[in-house]
Amino acid sequence: MSSATRRWWSNTVDIEETTIPGAHEDLVTDSMLPGKGHDYKNLGDRIAELILRQRVHPYAWLVTFGIGFMLLNVMLMSITYLLYKGIGVFGVNVPAGWGLDIINFVWWIGIGHAGTLISAILLLLKQKWRNSINRFAEAMTLFAVACAGLYPLLHTGRPWNAYWLLPLGPNILGLWPQFRSPLLWDVFAVSTYATVSALFWYIGLIPDLAMLRDKTTSKPLRVLFAMGALGWRGASRHWARYETAYMVLAGISAPLVLSVHTIVSFDFAVGIVPGWHTTIFPPYFVAGAVYAGFAMVLTVGIPVRAWYKLKDMITMTHIDWMAKIMLTTGLVVFYGYILEVFYGWYSGDKYEWAMILNRFFGPYKWTYYALLTCNGIIPQLLWSPKVRRSIPAIFLISQTVSIGMWLERFVIIPVSLHRDYLPSSWGYYTPSFWDWSMFIGTMGFFTVLMFGFMRVLPIINMFEMKELLFGNKHKHGQEAADRDPTHSHVVSMPDTAAHSDDHSH
């Protein structure tokens, strides 16, 4: 490309010496980007290709997206019918005032947790291996939160008044909301989480958008990417600010990983219902969320890496490590189950103990046994490295965990509600057709968003992969750094922002 065609949004050719914090962390190993022949150019090209050369998308994409789209329409129909008829179309009743609506809300929110955990906490802990999975994990967070967010709104009896939960204050509504209610905390927690996640995701996208802008040959696309890139030129000042902003946002997000699900768990822990009123909920919910989140990352990641031949970017090591996190959080969750039973007995409270017995022997006992099987027993297979490195096994276990985590919310919500204090009020909860159609519909919504995202934005962080490659290439540099301390701090940064491969030189 000649200098005559260069536009204002194009990169400068200046390459500045940049300090990359943590670029030489020893956790970045060959196994994170295995194989030979990677260079900065083809790494970027391979990821950018998914957006710039739409034909590379396999037939599987179309099928998946098509199914998702159909289900999205199922969701839209369900919502329309719900708004038209009333919340009665769901199976909820008295005593079980919440059913699939809140189960699915908590389930989706939980799924979102892996994204934030991967992007924020692992970033802060300088876990470089996150680089290949963080982008779509973050996207997954956003989309899961979008699905989750539908439920608290739509499950109310009068959704058109749901904005009364916002603290619009006496000037607009004449009344504050009721600050003692965990549902209100939910509003704050989930909206903050959604906002911060979106920001974090977008900030991380900026260098990649700039790269796409530079790679695309289509003028309208270039304009669009340029707008998204906010004038990114890859200048060292940009990088410095980017790193700072990213770290600050990571710092803000990290406590959110803990707070969101903690607060969601308060919806139950603050209640007086046996099976809800327990102090173990916050940590147990957070662990469960991470558990479910990683299961979903694997569920989506495994087919995608196969279809798009990204096995060298999302490697077996990634899968192995994610499986290990699943195993760990799964054990925390299982510990929670054991302690719930223990507390039920140890408290000496007849209602608590009746709740435990009801889980074991009540009409919904199958859900509890299924939960223990899915979340407690089957994931123990992950102790075996062989299983952790078997794609079909991991894929199945991830789905088992997803189902298990859904069952966990089922056991907590309707199973606790349907038999509480007065046997006269005991009832039964059966989800209705519309409960299921809405749930399956949100899966379609999620799929459409996720697979739509794959075609318009890079699913793998291009510049961070290059960072990984840089790390790999300078493996020996690491050894050199040991000899020469200055080497590790000031390194030459080759085209991390993908500016020079195809245009600038």
Partner: protein, 1063 residues
């Protein structure tokens, strides 16, 4: 132009026509047109006035004059000319009568011919609430659910509105004059009334009797037949056998120490049951005044022994209850009689535990003169005779058992009369004209009479009823009846007390007339029911001050001192030996028992949504009936449902066959039902009924024969292999060992009066170091709270008077009759939701009667506990609502702000009592099934029913008991105007007002002098789930039983106490 030349107008014309009768009556317009007036009338739209006006030649002024006048007069066509008579004095007259302040009138509601005195609230002319009339002996200010439900019948959108000619069930709209013309012609043709039959329900009305007798005097060959399915034939025949004449028996349960009920449900079904409930409760209630530590023996309770063929609410109150097949009761009664020295013939050995029987006889003997033996109406006459003999032997007559003349105007064996009528109708032309006033005999007549076909083949048949029902469809004419609240009348109560029935509203539909009006119109022009009743009573009381008497009587709702005097009748010596003619198939195989339904009775409330959705007291079944049987019988027949706790059990559909008659009906196991017997409630499975009743239940009349109208043996049960979903409001029977309903024996109570106060039923004690969440009350008492101590200030700001509202519910006298449930539904505009929604656990009743069983499934103890919003001081619902839609008032009310509610349902989840109800759909508009539920309150007619003081709730909003806050505010306004505090007893919640046993008491709990405070100070007072420290404002008084210590089966062990009874 002479405007006054021929002063003929439509009104004079109509008056002329009205005067004519019989064959002279006009048949067609052409015929009428022959008269010169009419010809003229037809020519001119405004007769006489416009003829000479030619609009083209008219001047401007005249045109405008006419145009203006036409416009003004056009408005008049909407008016109705009703004679302006001031005949309705208010029971509570106020000088400053203001719009929106309701008036209350005294009148009566008739059930099975008997009057229950009521006070009806009228809002701008709309009757909106039926309460009991404290002046009336059958009511004493209380109420039953069926009496209240008659109000919904008034506004039934499917009420018939027109006179119709019916041809094979097809209705053609006609007019009263068409009908009367036909009827009068036919009557005149018979000359002396040969072949003319009038069929009514039970009549006690003096005026109606007088009218019928007048008509019969004119047509001496005509006959009057009374029939209703829930007749008192057995009682009457028993009385005739015992005393040689129809005698009315009155019981005084307020004086009875020992009661033996032989299958008599005197708390729900017998005439006077509201009064009897009140009397019964006075001997069961425990008040502080009765408890004397020095002499605990001073405290007494009556003891009720009950043998019954189907569990009833009376049976739940029994201290000793024996399930017994209906056919065995006679033998048992004979054994009792023999043991008490009555010569009762051969006493068949009754299968009764020896200690049980001996204890019963001992108690009866010990309380001679203060005991009652009472027999159920479905028991054969012999049992009633035995009761009379036993009561006489025990010296109860004149003390607890009193006799008067029969209350019915013409006490007859109704079934025999109907049978005879059917026979006559069978014979060709013996019956030519059949006039059916009320009732639904085609549906309710025994199946072997083939009554529908008899009616269809009769030449001229007419049916006066509020609904187009089975009988209407079989008749040639259907006539719309006026509701009790729409017409004048009179009736006697169970003790003979007469009351005048005054209407609250003109008939909603112009075509509706009462039976009184119709009877007069057969021979005279259509009268006004007021004139008929007024003139009758004027004749009866020819006194100069009749007007004053009339006004006073209307005001009071009863004719003073009109109760029948107690008389002495001689018991015929051998009466007790008389045996009943054998019941078909008695003692063989399975027994079938047919009883009135606890809510829809004989089927008359079949199209009444309140009654359909009202859970039956024991089964908690709604919208259906079932074949009730014991678990053991069901197991024997292989019909027992799988043990489980699901809300909806698909019940097995069986075919019952008896005497060649068959009925398919689902099975429901009822704990405490006698073995080898099946009970099916009457009143369901109607074919010609409105949308509410359509498709509900199974028609037990198809099994009812003249030979065995109540019970019979030798029934076959075949499993069809199909199932049918029965829907009940609760499925779980057991208390799960939780201390939810506190009950014990009187003996235990005397040893430990505060037995009900346990850790579970009281507010937790404060412990060391628990100070953070401690509330220190004004009296220095400390209480631990699950929630942070909230300083609800129970003080009103700026007002001189402060109140703390609370409720006390006495489980000891709650008989589970459901009167409060219907009262609440009526008062608070609570919609019905339909079977499908009840199935989903979405019924809307703000008060529910929890029913618990304890003991063996074959004969458990049954307890009732009404549960409403507890108005907790630490209400778990309040902190969880994100929009502050449920908040605490300064008077301690847990308030629900409908406008603010967004419907998260979190409050309901967090309510340990689960008393909150959610509008999952717009139930008030009849959703989700507007076709079936007739638009509920949204229907223009049903909107008239709404209590204007209570918001009609929309979709997506939570609701619950408000302690009738509208009534509190009404009292507050009154008190404020008078500058005083609200007096104790001035605020009565709807549930408390209707309760026959006064088990519910409302008032200021901060004022220690109020009745509610005194009740709460009783040792038996306890809190529901008190251990949660929700500090409910509603508390309960423990249930006490008074078993005879000599009976071993009731000295239960603790193990048995906790044995859950599983469905």
């Amino acid at each position: 132009m002479d405007m006054h030349q021929r002063p003929v107008d439509a009104r004079t014309f109509r008056a002329k026509l009205e005067g004519k009768s019989g064959k002279q009556y006009w048949r067609s317009l052409e015929e009428l047109a022959d008269t010169p007036e009419f010809r003229e009338y037809l020519l001119d739209e405004i007769p006489q006035h416009t003829r000479s006006f030619d609009i083209l030649s008219m001047d401007r002024r005249r045109f405008l004059t006419l145009a203006g006048a036409s416009l003004a007069l056009a408005g008049l066509s909407g008016c109705r000319w009703l004679p302006a008579k001031k005949v309705v004095p208010a029971a509570e007259l106020s000088e400053d009568r203001t719009v929106s302040i309701p008036n209350i009138y005294a009148t009566s509601v008739i059930e099975h011919g008997l009057a229950t005195g009521v006070l009806v609230t009228s809002n701008e002319g709309r009757p909106t609430r039926i309460e009991g009339n404290p002046e009336h002996p059958a009511s004493l200010g209380s109420n039953s659910s069926t009496v209240q439900a008659t109000l919904l019948d008034l506004y039934d959108p499917e009420r018939s509105q027109n006179v119709s000619e019916v041809n094979q069930g097809a209705y053609t709209i006609s007019t009263w004059s068409n009908f009367l013309d036909t009827m009068r012609a036919a009557l005149t043709a018979t000359k002396d009334g040969t072949g003319f039959r009038i069929l009514t329900e039970t009549v006690t009305s003096p005026t109606l009797t007088h009218q019928i007798k007048t008509l019969l005097a004119k047509y001496p060959a005509a006959k009057w037949v009374q029939y209703e399915p829930l007749s008192r034939d057995n009682v009457l025949n028993g009385a005739k056998a015992a005393f040689g004449q129809p005698v009315n028996t009155l019981y005084d349960f307020s004086k009875a120490d020992t009661i033996l009920s032989l299958d008599a449900d005197f708390l729900l079904s017998m005439p006077g049951h509201i009064r009897y409930s009140r009397d019964f409760a006075t001997k069961r209630r425990v008040r502080s005044a009765d408890i004397s530590p020095e002499d605990p023996k001073k405290l007494t309770m009556s003891r009720l022994y009950m043998v019954e063929s189907c569990p009833s609410i009376t049976g739940t109150m029994a201290d000793h209850r024996l399930p017994m097949r209906a056919s065995q009761v006679e033998a048992f009664a004979r054994a009792v009689a023999a043991a008490l020295g009555v010569d009762a013939g051969a006493a068949a050995p009754a299968a009764v535990p020896k200690d049980w029987f001996e204890a019963l006889i001992g108690d009866l003997k010990a309380s001679s003169g203060t005991s009652i033996v009472v027999a159920g109406e479905h028991q054969p006459p012999a049992v009633h005779v035995l009761c009379h003999a036993i009561n006489a032997a025990l010296g109860n007559v004149g003390k607890t058992v009193n006799y008067t003349d029969a209350v019915e105007s013409q006490p007859v064996d109704q079934l025999a009369a109907l049978k005879q009528l059917a026979e006559e109708m069978k014979t060709n032309d013996a019956v030519k004209i059949l006039l059916i006033l009320g009732g639904n005999p085609v549906y309710t007549a025994p199946v072997d009479l083939d009554f529908a076909r008899r009616v269809q083949t009769t030449r001229l048949t007419a049916h006066l009823s509020m609904q187009e029902d089975e009988t209407s469809a079989a008749c040639k004419w259907h006539l719309p009846a006026a509701h009790t609240l729409e017409s004048w009348g009179d009736a006697r109560a169970f003790d003979g007390t007469t009351s005048i029935i005054q209407p609250l509203i003109a008939p909603l539909y112009e075509g509706a007339h009462s039976d009184l009006e119709l009877l007069v119109a057969l021979t005279e022009p259509m009268p006004n029911s007021y004139d008929v009743v007024y003139n009758y009573w004027k004749e009866q009381k020819p006194a100069p001050d009749f007007e004053k008497w009339w006004q006073e009587t209307l005001h009071d709702g009863v004719i003073k001192n009109s109760a029948f005097p107690t008389k002495t009748f001689t018991l015929s010596a051998d009466a007790a030996k008389t045996a009943t003619p054998a019941i078909p198939g008695a003692g063989q195989g399975l027994e079938l028992l047919l009883l009135p339904d606890p809510t829809i009775r004989d089927g008359r409330f079949n199209n009444n949504g309140w009654m359909q959705e009202l859970p039956k007291p024991l089964t908690k079944l709604t919208w259906d009936n079932a074949a009730l049987m014991s678990q053991a019988t069901a197991e024997k027949l292989g019909l027992a449902p799988a043990v489980g706790g699901l809300t909806v059990a698909d019940n097995k559909l069986v075919e019952l066959e008896i005497g060649g008659h068959k009925l398919r009906v689902p099975v429901l196991c009822l704990p405490g039902h006698p073995d080898d017997s099946v009970t099916v409630h009457l009143g369901y499975g109607r074919t010609h009924v409105g949308k509410i009743g359509a498709g509900t239940g199974f028609n037990a009349y198809l099994l009812r024969t003249t030979a065995a109208p109540c019970f019979a043996g030798g029934m076959k049960v075949t499993n069809t292999g199909e199932t049918y979903p029965l829907v009940h409001t609760r499925s779980h029977h057991s208390m799960e060992g939780r201390e939810i309903l506190m009950e014990d024996t009187l003996e235990a109570f005397l040893k430990k009066p505060d037995f009900a106060k346990t850790e579970a039923t009281t507010t937790p004690e404060i412990k060391e170091g628990d100070d953070k969440q401690t509330q220190v009350l004004e009296n220095g008492e400390k209480r631990l709270s699950l929630y942070d101590a909230q300083d609800h200030e129970y003080k009103s700001d700026g007002n001189a008077f402060t109140y703390s509202w609370g409720l006390s519910i006495d489980n000891n006298v709650c008989i589970g009759c459901n009167a409060c449930v219907t009262a609440c539904q009526n008062e608070n505009n609570i919609p019905i939701v339909g079977k499908d929604q009840v199935d989903r656990g979405r019924e809307m009743h703000w008060i529910r009667i929890d029913r618990y069983y304890r003991g063996p499934i074959s004969n458990p103890h049954t307890f009732f506990e009404p549960v409403t919003c507890m108005h907790c001081e630490n209400a778990p619902c309040e902190p969880v609502c994100p929009v502050a839609a449920t908040v605490h008032s300064k008077e301690g009310l847990n308030q629900m702000v409908y406008n603010r509610c967004v419907g998260t349902r979190y409050c309901s989840n967090n309510c340990p009592y689960k008393v909150r109800r959610f509008n999952f759909y717009k139930y008030t508009a009849g959703q989700p099934d507007p076709d079936k539920l007739r638009g509920n309150n949204d229907s223009p007619v049903l909107q008239l029913l709404s209590n204007p003081e209570v918001t009609v709730r929309g979709r997506g909003v939570m609701e619950k008991c408000s302690y009738c806050v509208q009534r509190i505010d009404l009292a507050r306004i009154t008190a404020k105007k008078e500058g005083r505090a609200i007096k104790d007893g001035e605020v009565v919640t709807a549930c408390a007002q209707s309760c026959p046993t006064q088990a519910i008491v409302f008032g200021d709990v901060a004022d220690k002098t109020t009745l509610v405070s005194k009740l709460k100070a009783l040792p038996t007072d306890y809190l529901l789930l008190g251990e949660l420290n929700t500090r409910p404002r509603t508390s309960y008084l423990a249930r006490l039983r008074n078993p005879n210590p000599a009976i071993k089966e009731d000295a239960e062990s603790d193990v048995e106490r906790d044995t859950p009874v599983v469905e």
